[in-house]
């Protein structure tokens, strides 16, 4: 479990990034960490893994303070940052160099995931494209069987077929005792993957709900006109019409449109929080 209590963090004295942020993340869920640019999604992930330190407050991973960077905790964490550096060695050498540091690393699974991503195992890491390098790191991360998988913009740089492969690999490797946090701008890529949504705005968590809860309580409908009834809490124009969010009074399940939901929350989170 990851617990964040009364987190205060800022890069400069003038402006705080997080003020009194509280969050609890449970095992067995894939969390989508959403927010506008500069709201601190990447910084929050860095704070969780202990490479940034809070100004105040505490981040605990299994009761251990993240700032301690304890090796037994770090071997259960895999963080895929948006930018990364890979050495000029072959993939096999990279695995040989790093696998011993992760006690639960499954080498066979790693090569299986690479195959799913269609990456040549004999390639030199430096000669791979940005997207291919990312595939190697994602495969490595999932093969570590780390309890905590933190992925920062994982679909950036992936082409359309790779995004689908990415979802498959993630679902194939995800286990009930794991916590996965995916920070992303590209919500559509992960629409069917995310189980719980966390939205950060103005240094606070303004929305945190499970997708099944949203499916139960909200209804996403499409129509050609903007007007869809008095109970509509949010409408947004999309290609070919409008998407509306309404309270699910009839109990009809509809797929949660994460992008529309995000925009609705950013516009007025109080209304949605009251409904859900």
């Amino acid at each position: 479990m990851i617990t964040i209590e009364k987190l205060h963090f800022s890069y400069s004295k003038k402006k705080s990034l997080f003020t009194d942020l509280n969050l609890e993340l449970q095992a067995g869920k894939i969390y989508g960490l959403l927010g506008k640019n500069g709201t601190g999604k990447s910084s929050l992930l860095k704070l969780i893994i202990g490479v940034l330190f809070p100004n105040e407050g505490k981040i605990s991973i299994e009761a251990f303070d993240s700032v301690d960077r304890r090796p037994e905790i770090l071997q259960d964490i895999f963080f895929l940052s948006e930018d990364y550096e890979l050495p000029s060695i072959k993939i096999k050498s990279y695995v040989n160099a790093n696998k011993a540091l992760y006690s639960k690393f499954d080498e066979a699974k790693f090569y299986e995931y690479l195959q799913m991503f269609e990456v040549d195992v004999d390639s030199n890491l430096q000669k791979l494209s940005y997207g291919q390098k990312k595939k190697v790191l994602i495969s490595f991360g999932i093969a570590t069987n780390a309890k905590y998988l933190l992925l920062d913009e994982p679909t950036n740089g992936l082409d359309i077929p790779s995004k689908s492969q990415f979802r498959k690999v993630l679902l194939a490797g995800f286990k009930d005792d794991q916590i996965m946090i995916i920070s992303t701008h590209q919500i559509r890529d992960l629409n069917q993957l995310i189980e719980s949504i966390i939205i950060i705005e103005n240094g606070k968590i303004i929305f945190k709900k499970d997708v099944f809860e949203l499916e139960e309580k909200l209804r996403f409908t499409k129509s050609l006109s903007e007007d869809s009834g008095s109970n509509t809490v949010y409408s947004e124009s999309v290609a070919g019409g409008y998407i509306h969010i309404q309270p699910n009074e009839e109990g009809i399940a509809s797929e949660v449109e994460l992008e529309v939901l995000f925009n609705a929350v950013i516009k007025d989170n109080d209304v949605l929080n009251k409904i859900v």
């Binding site: 202990g50 960077r69 930018d83 550096e85």
Partner: protein, 250 residues
């Protein structure tokens, strides 16, 4: 502070696999350096001069060795590199120790062994070559000075992210001048009576220490100063470097 020998050896293995090519290039550069010394010695007819070899040994140990030490956390030059290295599943102590093994242990031993081989080779050609007691004593002090300097450079290597050798040199100079200034101030306060104004010195003839003090300095002060300088200071600097690593953020 945890230290696990298995994780430590895994880190060394990791570094070796990742930087294998760099190490090979470095070894070739070192071999070229020795070749250059032989060539320069041949040109200047210095091959039978022990002090000639000694000066090159010192060059290999200090400017080259300390520059390598300052670059030992090469990953820190970028934010991505810092994230990747700091989040590796090993303790801060294991991370520092694994890199120190290369620059504080392996490199000096490698340089010393190579020089010993070359020295032995040329001594067999020029039997008049030899290391006298004074040179042995200088060598002992130099090795201690290397350990202390290296410990200081380690702090800079952990603390700074970019242009580490340049920043290390600038910091060293700043500290050196501050230390000189501090020493002068303390000296002037302690020996207040011997000075008149800022620069003029009076009563110099009476400032010679007596025999008892000379004896005390030789038998007590110097060994204590040596112990502090040779053993306490490097350990103190290593502890600072460890805490700097512990506090290191991206």
């Amino acid at each position: 502070m945890t230290f696990n020998i298995s994780r430590f050896s895994n880190l060394i293995k990791r570094d070796f696999i990742i930087y294998r090519k760099t190490l090979i290039y470095f070894f070739l550069a070192l071999a070229s350096y020795f070749g250059l010394i032989v060539l320069l010695g041949y040109e200047s007819s210095n091959l039978n001069d022990t002090s000639y070899w000694f000066s090159w040994y010192v060059t290999a140990l200090f400017p080259i060795g300390l520059t390598i030490s300052s670059l030992v956390f090469w990953e820190f030059k970028s934010s991505a590199g810092r994230i990747q290295y700091l989040s590796l599943p090993a303790s801060n102590l294991e991370k520092i120790a694994s890199r120190q093994l290369y620059v504080l242990v392996i490199y000096p031993i490698l340089v010393t062994v190579l020089f010993a081989i070359i020295y032995g080779l040329f001594k067999s050609i020029y039997p008049e070559m030899g290391i006298d007691d004074e040179m042995k004593m200088i060598l002992k002090y130099l090795l201690h000075a290397f350990v202390v300097s290296q410990a200081f450079v380690l702090i800079c290597a952990v603390y700074f992210n970019t242009f580490v050798p340049v920043k290390t040199i600038m910091t060293s100079w700043a500290l050196f001048f501050m230390q000189i200034l501090l020493t002068v101030i303390v000296f002037r306060i302690v020996f207040w009576d011997y000075f008149d104004g800022l620069f003029s010195v009076v009563h110099v003839e009476s400032s010679k220490p007596n025999a008892e003090f000379e004896d005390f300095a030789k038998n007590k002060l110097v060994p204590i100063a040596e112990f502090i300088g040779f053993y306490v200071l490097p350990v103190f600097l290593w502890v600072i470097a460890y805490f700097k690593m512990k506090e290191k953020e991206v």
